[in-house]
Symmetry: C2
Subunit: 264 residues, 2 copies
């Protein structure tokens, strides 16, 4: 599963992550804590131009960890709902559940804690983020957090939190299976939904092959200055054809799948 | 450039890395410190089964950082010469220099420091590693370190170390350019060397496309249980043909390159 933390700087995400991680490990959930800070803080200073690499690497680490079957705790502000949506989609596309945990504390508490640990970020930035933050779930229903935790009150009971998360994971899995059964029963009226499921996977597959091969091609061209323009063009066209043909093959699959349903 | 640290646990690689990193940054070298511990320590406990993911992700982070043009300081023991050779090859294939720095200290110093910071690794392991470590460069010439630094003596002068590294990087670049010129002049007798350079790139390109597309295929199959065996077979064959054809296209490139030389 993907455990997506959401919360402003200094609310206590990293502290929360470490405690949750240990507790989940005790309950035999292989897990890893990831987040952009892991990469960002491997640079000696911050520069805007490092951010592309930071984000790309972070997404890759998360994606591959999910593929390995690890639970991933994402220790990041995840401040924008577009980011939260992208993470949810990533989890869904890998048939994993996404459990969102919103950590909250009053502004004065955030600012005090920020100062106490050296104010790596100016207080003014945190104030600005606080004032502009849309409560999760007010704008979009899918954005409602699974858990809300106040970090300024009493100590957090991580035994309870971990059990709640495991429970939510099981509930979400059961709901998905119920949805699938409903779809099978109502195949005629839900045909479109089935196509959407597969279409989503197809899109991701096609995009992944597209992105990965484009990436490899770009590297190859960058690192081999002697390539003739002709070769580059040929390789490029060959790659594009490959992508097109993958789509054809899987489109055929969709047609066969749907005609099976009709026969039934 | 790739700055490859080599040294036993507790010799001071992480401390050295942070100091060097800051100094290189002051001299305007965008750089990042990477190493398997970055990923390994994101897990709450250690398990042997995490190591595949740890190594794969570490290599990917290093590879992409080099592609971005960052200097990479590899903070790892890099205990095996096969590992050191692989890193050197990675740098070479991206036209980057690899500068190896061997950090040394007497065994008793290592053990004392290990205990002082909590002995995450048992002293017996460090003793074992120390006794079996082949001096760098005794077995293979290419394995000779560019710099050797004793970490148990006086404070290290990082201004000097950074300057020395920058100088070595320039020297290695000049040497490569001289080699290229020599090759151009002696094209008839050095034809095979040119093929090796390109062959190296070709191999890496082919392998990368192979690995990345196999990975995407594997994910797709894993996440889409409804795929018919036929579709899986078709997609798999299509991918294999794609790899074969890329090789053909680049083989043609090599032939043309060498016939150009013959004409000249
Ligand atoms: N539940 C908590 N109660 C009190 N202080 C906390 C709590 N969680 C974190 N802190 C403190 O607040 C500061 C910020 O915590 P941190 O976990 O690094 O926040 P974040 O990762 O959200 O930026 C740290 O000094 C930490 O010790
Ligand atoms: N040059 C040095 N002189 C004295 N002590 C050092 C030196 N470098 C590191 N140490 C200390 O030795 C211990 C191990 O250092 P560290 O850099 O973590 O080693 P490594 O990364 O090689 O395992 C730390 O407690 C550190 O403070
Ligand atoms: Mg944090
Ligand atoms: Mg270290």
């Amino acid at each position: 599963m993907l455990i997506m933390l959401v919360g402003l700087p200094s609310v206590g995400k990293s502290t929360f992550s470490k405690n949750l991680s240990k507790k989940l490990s005790e309950k035999n959930f292989d897990n890893i804590i990831l987040g952009t800070d892991l990469i960002r803080e491997s640079f000696p200073v911050w520069k805007e131009k490092y951010e592309d690499y930071i984000k790309k690497m972070n997404n890759y680490l998360i994606s591959e960890a999910l593929n390995e079957g690890f639970t991933v705790i994402i220790d990041d502000t995840n401040y924008y709902n577009s980011k939260r949506r992208d993470l949810m989609h990533m989890a869904n596309s890998k048939n994993k559940n996404c459990i969102s945990i919103y950590l909250k504390a009053p502004l004065d508490v955030l600012l005090t804690r920020n100062i106490a640990r050296g104010a790596k970020i100016p207080n003014s930035v945190i104030e600005d983020m606080y004032s502009k933050f849309d409560e999760m779930g007010t704008k979009y229903k899918w954005d409602k957090p699974d858990l809300e935790i106040n970090t300024h009150r009493d100590d957090i009971n991580f035994e309870e939190v971990a059990n709640k998360i495991i429970e939510l994971n099981n509930i979400k899995t059961k709901n998905k299976e119920l949805e699938k059964d409903v779809k099978k029963d109502n195949y005629s009226s839900n045909n479109n939904k089935n196509i959407d499921d597969i279409d989503e996977l197809l899109k991701e597959f096609k995009n992944r092959v597209d992105v990965e091969t484009r990436h490899v091609m770009g590297e190859f061209i960058k690192n081999n200055k002697n390539l003739s323009k002709n070769t580059i063009k040929e390789l490029s066209n060959y790659r594009k054809n490959y992508i097109k043909n993958i789509k054809k093959i899987v489109d055929i699959e969709i047609k066969e799948y749907n005609s099976d349903l009709d026969d039934y």
